[in-house]
């Protein structure tokens, strides 16, 4: 069943002297309920923008996005999001951050404490409830952001390069944890990354976007089960990298200043 339908979506930014920049060009994509889909592409290909449009933070220039047959016009609690740089409320403690969405929904104090605590425990931050974000490492902050998102029980998780700002070891651990979480809850995940192996390891389908203007170049089914071997993941990642490589090279060539 299609949960998210991206239907002929473009994003065009007006520039000075009547020129425009097409960031995303007529993208069509359908994402099923409970699916884990990654979007990869060279920097500036509009993959994050596409995610922000699903979130309802950024309007489409043309085309439309539907979630459960309803056109997306604004953000909603059915779509949770985590960002590369966490975007935690620095003036709130870990508990305050995780509880935030529950407070907004008017849930009674005792119940929201219980719920928030359960999610804090789930992301292994027990004991840090009253700590402020700036006293936590990057990996811990991203765990708080994940707990804050999950506490609202969204049916769609939007993840915008969530591990891009973390060191390699922390990233690996969090990748394993996200995979476990997904296998447990089977929520729909749209995951933007530029890490090919990460995309293969986590997702069922990988959407490869072209260099600007961002179009869907191809969609790959990873076909890897939960206990895929390291070799199988590596092989698939190499395959994907071959597809992406041209786009990355093209992006780098375009960014080079003309002599």
């Amino acid at each position: 069943m299609a949960l998210i339908e991206i239907d002929g979506v473009s994003k065009i930014y007006p520039l000075e002297n009547n020129r425009e920049l097409t960031a995303i060009d007529r993208v069509n994509l359908t994402i099923g309920d409970g699916e884990f889909v990654s979007i990869i592409g060279p920097s500036g290909c509009g993959k994050s923008t596409l995610l922000h449009m699903i979130g309802g933070f950024v309007p489409c220039s043309s085309g439309e996005i539907r979630v459960r047959d309803v056109k997306v016009t604004s953000p909603g609690p059915d779509r949770g999001i985590v960002f590369q740089h966490f975007a935690l409320f620095p003036w709130k403690t870990v508990l305050g951050n995780v509880e935030y969405g529950l407070v907004e929904r008017g849930i009674a104090k005792a119940e929201r404490r219980r719920t928030a605590q359960a999610f804090i425990d789930m992301v292994k931050l027990s004991g840090f409830e009253n700590t402020f974000p700036n006293r936590l490492s990057g990996g811990m902050q991203q765990r708080v952001a994940i707990a804050r998102m999950l506490a609202c029980e969204p049916s769609i998780l939007l993840m915008d390069e969530p591990f891009g700002a973390l060191d390699a070891q922390t990233r690996k651990i969090l990748q394993e944890e996200i995979r476990e979480l997904w296998q447990r809850f089977r929520k729909t995940v749209v995951f933007v990354t530029h890490d090919v192996r990460e995309a293969v390891y986590l997702s069922q389908r990988v959407v490869v976007m072209s260099a600007r203007p961002g179009r869907i170049k191809t969609i790959i089914e990873t076909g890897l089960g939960p206990d895929a071997s390291r070799a199988a993941i590596d092989q698939k990642a190499d395959e994907l990298w071959d597809l992406l490589r041209d786009e990355v090279v093209r992006t780098i060539a375009e960014e080079r200043p003309v002599a």
Binding site: F57, P75, I81, F83, F89, P90, K92, N134
Partner: protein, 251 residues
């Protein structure tokens, strides 16, 4: 032991300065008619305080200063945030801000007296206007530079748009707002005294002016000392409050 000594050591240069002042006066280096000794100033201070004068005038001044300051804080924070959020508000207020930025606010005091009379209103207006600018500017700049993803996060967690300024923008800009408020607090005492110099029968500024005119320089110094003490205490109180409100920033 070292912790207990930190504050006295920090302020040591002041005590040394006061000591040099007293020694210079006793050694006859200062003209006693123009530059009274510290001892004379302290005696005058006690004399003014005993008669209840000092407290009365200080009360009047503090009322004017705090009314102007708090009005400016409320109005300045709200308009700073609105300017960042709304293009229309920005189009109206930004030119006004730019035009009034270099204007010395004390130059307007005579006008306020003309319009609002010689009572409290003109003085409160002078303090208000002087404090407004640093508060608006610091709030506006901070609100404009706010991390958009904080707002997006709040949206996706269910905060309605109309509550975003209160729930996200205000706490996010608080550090910059507090430093703008601190600048405004210092300005508020300057403007209070300047406005009271010009006209009126009450207030510490009036007391300084009138004692000076009467040639009671020790008394004048005592009144200046009172303003200094009040301003200093207000700043310390503000810093304490600020540290408490922003405790989440401490590493």
């Amino acid at each position: 032991m070292m912790r207990a000594l930190r504050v006295p050591i920090f302020y040591l240069p002041i005590f040394v300065g006061l000591l040099l002042w007293e020694l210079a006066a006793r050694a006859g280096l200062l003209n006693p008619n123009l530059f009274p000794s510290l001892g004379d100033v302290l005696i005058a201070f006690v004399r003014l305080a005993e008669k209840g004068h000092l407290l009365q005038h200080a009360g009047v001044s503090l009322f004017r200063q705090s009314s102007g300051f708090f009005l400016a804080a409320a109005f300045g924070i709200v308009s700073g945030i609105l300017m960042a959020e709304s293009r229309q508000v920005r189009n109206i207020l930004e030119p006004l801000l730019r035009a009034t930025f270099p204007l010395p606010k004390s130059a307007l005091i005579p006008l306020f007296i003309l319009w609002l009379g010689i009572g409290d209103a003109a003085k409160v207006a002078a303090v208000f206007l002087g404090c407004l600018l640093p508060i608006v500017v610091s709030t506006y700049n901070a609100a404009r530079g706010i991390n958009k993803q904080l707002v997006w996060s709040a949206w996706s967690l269910g905060t309605p748009t109309w509550l975003i300024p209160w729930k996200v923008v205000l706490p996010a800009v608080l550090p910059e707002v507090m430093s703008g408020l601190r600048t405004a607090l210092a300005l508020s005492f300057t403007l209070m005294v300047s406005a009271e110099f010009l006209i009126g029968q009450r207030g510490l500024g009036y007391l300084i002016a009138t004692l000076g005119e009467d040639g009671d320089y020790a008394g004048m110094f005592a009144a200046v000392l009172a303003v200094t003490l009040i301003g200093f205490s207000a700043d310390r109180l503000f810093l304490w409050l600020s540290g408490w409100l922003l405790s989440w920033r401490e590493p």
